[in-house]
Every structure is written in structure tokens, then in C-alpha cells.
């Protein structure tokens, strides 16, 4: 019996050490990507190509989800607020929850599963088929040529996607509450505008989405570069990208929120 307990504790210890290694490697890889970004900044065409795959192709899912999230928020908010006779505050509710939280967080979660997994699979497969090694043989740095453009494309597109998500959400809320239910349009917008602050709400949401963009793409490129060069390894790495990104986004969101919105009434 004590032997089993010892082996369980050993297992925990092993995982802790492994996890710490992973965090350390990912951080070093992040610094490495930053250091080798000069090529992708000089040859911006590389980033453009990745921006198309990472940003433009994620547009549909982001816009449609934003619309539906906003519509649900409007509907649920209206149901509760009309009990207190303050259904005109539904605009404030929809806009604040989207701009502060749901926009950056849900857009980042969708981005991780749509674009992050694709980046990991692509880089992982390049490694498995020894394309990265071949590049190294030709004195082309794979980090500068393959990883950095994808990293920057993700970092650039994330804030834009989050902003579009919020706008579509506000539009969805407007559609449901004003057009379908019939909340007064003037008070919908004026209450929203008087309660959503540019610096406190919109800028903080924007900063959040920038953080999420860096976190998600770092995880995605690291998992791809770190994947075991087998079919199974690539599949594990892709799964890990989505799971780790989701956890990191939610944890980071709590930390950022605690810093940003403490002391705001």
C-alpha cells in the first residue's frame, strides 16, 4: 500500500516537473520568436499570407457567433430586466458584457480552435515530414521563416476579430430587443453610450484581446514546433493547443479583469 501512495506522489511530482519544463520552454520559444521577427517584418508578404489564413478565414465563425451571442444576451437580458421595468438598460447590458468580457474571451476561444489548431497542425506536420529540418539544411531559419509570420499574423488579427465580434453582438442585441421585441431605440443607444466608457471599457477590452492574441498564438506555434514528429504526435499537439489555450485564456482573463476593473463602480 505505501508503495502505491509513493508512486502516486511520484506521478504528481513528475507531472509538476514536466509542466514547469513546458512553461519554461514555451517562454524561451516566445522570446526566440520575438528575436527572430525581423525577417517577417522586413518581408511583410509572409505575414500577409498568414493573415489571410488566420484572420480572414476566421471571419465567418467570429461574425456568426458574435451575432448569436448578442441575440441571446439581448433576449435573456430583456427577460430579466423587464421584471424591474428597466428593459431600456438592455443596451447597456449587452454592450458592457460584450465589450468587457465576451468579445475578447469568446473570440479568443473561437480563434484558438479555428486558427490556433490549424497553426499547430501545419507546423507539426512540417516537422513530421522534416520540412523544417530541410529548411535548416538550406540555412533558412525555420523559426524566422515559418513560425514568426504565423505568430505575428495571429497577434495582429486577434484584436480586430474581437472588435468585430463585439460589434456583431451589439447588432444582434439591437436586432432582438429593438426590432423584434420593440424596446425604445433611442433609450437603447443613449443608455448604452452613457454607460460604456471609452477608456475603461473599450480600451481595456482591446488590451485584453491583445494579450489573448499573444497567448493563443504563442501556445499554438510552440505546440506545433514541440510536437512529436509522428501522426499521433501532431494530433496530440493540436488537442493540447486547444485545451491549453482555453485554460490560459480564461485564467488570464480573470487576472486581467482583476487588474483592470477593480475600483470601477
Amino acid at each position: 500500500m505505501p508503495k502505491r501512495i509513493i508512486s502516486i506522489i511520484q506521478g504528481i511530482g513528475h507531472r509538476a516537473i514536466e509542466g514547469t519544463w513546458q512553461v519554461g520552454l514555451a517562454s524561451r520559444f516566445f522570446i526566440l520568436v520575438l528575436l527572430k521577427s525581423t525577417t517577417s517584418l522586413r518581408r511583410f508578404g509572409l505575414v500577409m499570407r498568414e493573415l489571410y489564413f488566420v484572420g480572414v478565414l476566421s471571419l465567418i465563425i467570429i461574425l456568426v457567433s458574435g451575432l448569436f451571442v448578442g441575440m441571446v444576451l439581448g433576449l435573456q437580458g430583456y427577460e430579466t430586466l423587464q421584471k424591474f421595468g428597466s428593459e431600456t438598460a438592455v443596451g447597456t447590458l449587452v454592450a458592457l458584457s460584450l465589450v468587457r468580457e465576451l468579445g475578447p474571451v469568446v473570440a479568443a476561444l473561437l480563434f484558438a480552435s479555428r486558427a490556433g489548431s490549424a497553426i499547430t497542425a501545419e507546423i507539426g506536420l512540417m516537422k513530421a515530414t522534416e520540412q523544417l529540418a530541410a529548411m535548416g539544411m538550406m540555412a533558412v531559419d525555420p523559426v524566422a521563416r515559418v513560425v514568426a509570420p504565423r505568430f505575428w499574423a495571429g497577434v495582429i488579427s486577434m484584436p480586430f476579430l474581437a472588435a468585430m465580434f463585439s460589434v456583431m453582438g451589439v447588432f444582434g442585441g439591437y436586432l432582438v430587443t429593438v426590432v423584434f421585441i420593440g424596446v425604445d431605440e433611442g433609450s437603447f443607444w443613449s443608455q448604452m453610450q452613457s454607460n460604456v466608457d471609452f477608456r475603461q471599457d473599450i480600451m481595456n477590452g482591446f488590451i485584453k484581446s491583445c494579450f489573448f492574441g499573444v497567448a493563443v498564438t504563442t501556445i499554438a506555434v510552440f505546440e506545433g514546433y514541440d510536437a512529436k514528429p509522428t501522426a499521433e504526435g501532431v494530433s496530440i499537439a493540436t488537442t493540447r493547443t486547444v485545451v491549453t489555450s482555453a485554460l490560459v485564456i480564461l485564467g488570464l482573463d480573470f487576472i486581467l479583469t482583476a487588474f483592470m476593473f477593480r475600483g470601477i463602480s
Partner: protein, 155 residues
């Protein structure tokens, strides 16, 4: 895919993104109500500010003329010192009355300015002489009960 079509799509994407940010700041947020114009500061001493917060509006006749920019406790006079930033388009006489009011029954608190009749106008950094504290519900009830009690003693 052709290089030019890709550039076109990415260009559209970036424009859409910037457009979304603009819509957020102008249509959803209150960036357009920020007056880009000049403002001047006034100081008011209040005995009790209740639930007044920084960035609360300063209104005169219901029109927003400025915002509360700072609230501090003074150790010299032992009361609250509230700094108001007023749009320079609006100037008020020296004997303007400032009181802390509540919007609606449970709404947010704001500062109401009632203009006086003085010839001299308030300048940047001036002190508001006449102030009225926020209503605190407990004090109000206490005063009411006290009045009732003294009334019944008369009989």
C-alpha cells in the same frame, strides 16, 4: 491563390477590424461626448458626499456641463474636497450653489449647479462657497423620528 486577391482580402479584413473598433468607440462608447475643448477646475467642500464617485456628471438645469475629477478628504477642514472639471463654454457666477443630487430613486449621484446672481464669474481653481451635502437616508429617517418625538411631547 493570387497574391493580389490575398492582399485584397487582408486589406478588407484590416479595414473591417478598424471599422469595428471605430463603431465601438463612437456608437457604443461615449468617445463622442468627450469634449475636446478646454475645461477649468472648481473646488467644492462638502460635509458629506454620500455615494458620489469620480467621473460623476456635473449638471446645471439637467445639462451635463462637466465631470467630477477628484475626491479627497481634507485634514484641515475635515470634510470632502471635490474637484470639478467644467467645460469652459460654461461659466458660472461666484455665488453658484452646488449640491449633490440623486438621479431617480436609486440612481447614480451627481453634482447639480444652480447659478446665482453675482456679477463676478468663477475662474479656474476657484472655490464654490455654497454647497449642499448628499442626502443620507439614515440621517433623514433619524431627523424624521426626532421631529415626530418632539411633536408628541408638545401635547
Amino acid at each position: 491563390m493570387q497574391r493580389t486577391t490575398m492582399d485584397l482580402w487582408v486589406g478588407l479584413f484590416v479595414i473591417l477590424g478598424i471599422g469595428a473598433l471605430l463603431i465601438l468607440s463612437l456608437k457604443v462608447g461615449n468617445l463622442n461626448t468627450y469634449s475636446a475643448g478646454q475645461s477649468y477646475q472648481l473646488i467644492g467642500h462638502f460635509e458629506n458626499i454620500g455615494g458620489l464617485k469620480i467621473r460623476a456628471p456635473v449638471k446645471s438645469s439637467g445639462v451635463v456641463v462637466g465631470r467630477v475629477v477628484n475626491i479627497q478628504f481634507s485634514l484641515e477642514t475635515y470634510d470632502a474636497v471635490v474637484t470639478l472639471s467644467i467645460d469652459s463654454r460654461y461659466i458660472f457666477p461666484k455665488d453658484t450653489f452646488a449640491s449633490i443630487l440623486t438621479a431617480g430613486l436609486l440612481g447614480e449621484q451627481y453634482i447639480g449647479l444652480a447659478a446665482g446672481g453675482d456679477e463676478i464669474m468663477l475662474k479656474d481653481g476657484d472655490k464654490l462657497m455654497k454647497t449642499n451635502s448628499a442626502m443620507v437616508l439614515e440621517e433623514l429617517i433619524g431627523r424624521f423620528l426626532f421631529d415626530k418625538a418632539s411633536e408628541s411631547n408638545d401635547f
